[in-house]
Symmetry: C2
Subunit: 398 residues, 2 copies
């Protein structure tokens, strides 16, 4: 039996001086989390996780609400096969939570869930993707995962030249495809940005564009019409993520792939997307992010719901751009995942030890998620989650 002895959490600023079409990331924060567990023999293991990329720190919820729920129960409530089982932990955290309202708390629970899986895989002495493959995917996993470089944000200075310089770096680092932001400028300027991207990576089918839900449906259709003949890789979040009627209109007007889902945080919302948005299983892309949406448990439910509705899990490319999602993609054999090579440090990116080759990457073959192979993030975890003078330790007694 292994007991969760403390859950530590701290808010950190994200390094971000850029914006997409709807928000500036200058004040963006995240929460880093450590779960410290002790076995009957006194041995200690620590799992690390974080939230959020793009949805702010959730430190209070982790410290006051979800952490204490786990620390209050007897370890027998979450041990299975001698290990703290993240699925059981997830269920315990969601006790006494009303339905609906799937935002923010889904990030808090997602962060603890991430740390719980890191802990679990470390205790299993296996990389996380293998644990996921064995438990949930009949032992099958991919040897590598399709990834793309998410960047091309709007910066206050530099314009097209800066964009070109940024995008040129990605093929040099092994990426084949990229995603850039649109909707934060005029249609004319956005089309120039897209031209720059195509010229840099070589093919429109390797360029995706992301409007971050900024457009009204008329604008979305206007941009769509202007871009349609380019046959871009995908056109992401043209409109509000919950405006399923607008997606339906777009899907009947715009032929190439659409993508959405990063701002849906629950099985219920994913179901509604599939039911109402008129998305096309033969081409469209679904980007629900397990790290922001209650963790692996909910993501498994979502994948199964998609498959029941006639979708392939290969249509899933989670938002998030981090090592955790790389494991999820590899172990559950979904389509691929995003990477943030240059943004949202230190949470984003895979770290130097993960090589991108021909647009594919493999999760580190070390026990756990492998945060230890990404020193900037590991240093951040260690420094911010030291035991001393830390409120989280209070929770461990209560």
């Amino acid at each position: 039996m292994i007991r969760i002895e403390s859950i530590r959490v701290r808010t950190i600023p994200l390094q971000a001086d850029y914006r997409n079409a709807t928000v500036s990331f200058a004040g963006m924060t995240g929460s880093v989390v450590a779960i410290l567990a002790r076995g009957d023999d006194g041995s200690v293991e620590v799992g690390y996780g974080f939230g959020s990329i793009g949805r702010y720190a959730q430190t209070e919820m982790i410290r006051e609400r979800f952490g204490p729920r786990l620390l209050r129960v007897d370890p027998s409530a979450y041990n299975r096969g001698g290990l703290p089982d993240p699925l059981l932990l997830n269920r315990l955290m969601r006790r006494d939570e009303k339905q609906g309202g799937h935002g923010e708390r889904s990030v808090a629970i997602g962060a603890i869930d991430m740390a719980a899986w890191d802990l679990y895989a470390k205790l299993e002495r296996k990389p996380l993707f293998l644990c996921l493959a064995e438990r949930f995917n009949g032992g099958r996993s991919d040897s590598s995962v399709e990834v793309y470089a998410a960047g091309g944000y709007y910066y206050d200075e530099g314009g097209q030249a800066r964009l070109r310089r940024e995008l040129e770096g990605y093929p040099e680092r092994g990426f084949r495809s990229v995603k850039i932001k649109i909707g934060g400028a005029s249609l004319k300027e956005d089309l120039q940005r897209i031209e720059t991207a195509i010229a840099t990576v070589g093919s429109p089918s390797d360029v995706a564009v992301d409007a971050n839900g900024r457009f009204r449906v008329e604008e979305a259709l206007e941009w769509g019409k202007a871009m349609e003949d380019l046959n871009l890789r995908w056109y992401e979040e043209p409109v509000d993520p919950l405006d399923f009627e607008a997606y339906k209109q777009l899907g009947s007007a715009y032929g190439p792939p659409l993508a959405t889902g990063e701002n849906l945080f629950s099985l219920q919302e994913a179901n509604n997307l599939i039911r109402y948005a008129g998305l096309r299983p033969d081409r469209d892309i679904l980007q629900m992010d397990p790290g922001l949406a209650y963790g692996v448990s909910e993501y498994l439910d979502i994948i199964h719901a998609l498959e029941s509705a006639g979708w392939s899990r290969r249509s899933c490319f989670p938002h998030g751009g981090n090592l955790f999602n790389l494991h999820v993609a590899q172990g559950l054999q979904i389509g691929g995942t995003e990477v943030y090579p240059e943004v949202f440090a230190p949470l984003g990116g895979f770290g130097e030890s993960v090589e991108i080759e021909k647009g594919r990457a493999s999760a580190p073959e070390v026990p756990g998620i492998g945060w230890e192979t990404k020193p900037d993030l590991m240093d951040c975890f260690k420094e911010r989650l030291k035991a001393q003078r830390h409120k989280g330790t209070k929770d461990s007694k209560g």
Copy 2:
């Protein structure tokens, strides 16, 4: 010009030893908020608000995210007609927030919005309902509001006798109709609880039942079939609030009114409910709660969307059971509102000075929301939000 000088916030425990079909409220918390504003002449006014009833404290978000956004801007960004305008404040708080994920932050913004309206109406020297009527309703307001007593929770002890004793108290206090919980017991026991309620208040049309989203659709239909001939006032949240397909099934199988909406927190979700859930404008009840759902601004958008879709605003009975919603109901002439005569103290309830007569109530005719007429809550605001030793004051400088 009036400057917001500080925003103070504290977490409080709610007094709650009961449960509904899905959650226990024993660990429920809320956030109390004060906005302190100073005029050019040095005069100071304070507005108070709170979140949440049923969705936990959101102190971190108020202190670290939404409060600072207001304190950072120049007062000219939110003054209109010489007063801090809650609509402008609301928009400022929502800067740099991604779309979707409408939960928790909607409570944090709702709490500040409530305090901003208290402040605004105090500065106008009018009760809030009059301010709302004048700004948004052509000066029209109702002289009183239809209310009902929300209670009938499950307690560990006391059973039917306790329920009867509780319900008997409501008519004595002027209520005509009541709402009790179902779904936390067997169908047989729930039917007995309903019989008890009908026997106590006299008519099934004065008894509503609330399953708090606990049922799978098959169970919801089973309970519905067993209750249908009773013609109860309404059957609330039989299933998950986002499972619109299930509501559609229920609406075609169950004749009497259905009610839902308290766990939808945004215009987008309200739109989807209206579009997809097959609800019936001639009888069904919508319970979106402005206090939990980004405040008055979003609620106005929701009312207008409902009216565009052929609904009457008289179909709206917000969840929440507090003085703020009483003003909203009276000033915007919606259907009515819930009251918590016995639960969620000190946030719930209208206070002794609001008399319930023949099932109707009127908001206190004092400037603001009138928290000052509800001493238990006012004492809580004053005691918890004192200036000294308080982190919130730090924000006022940053």
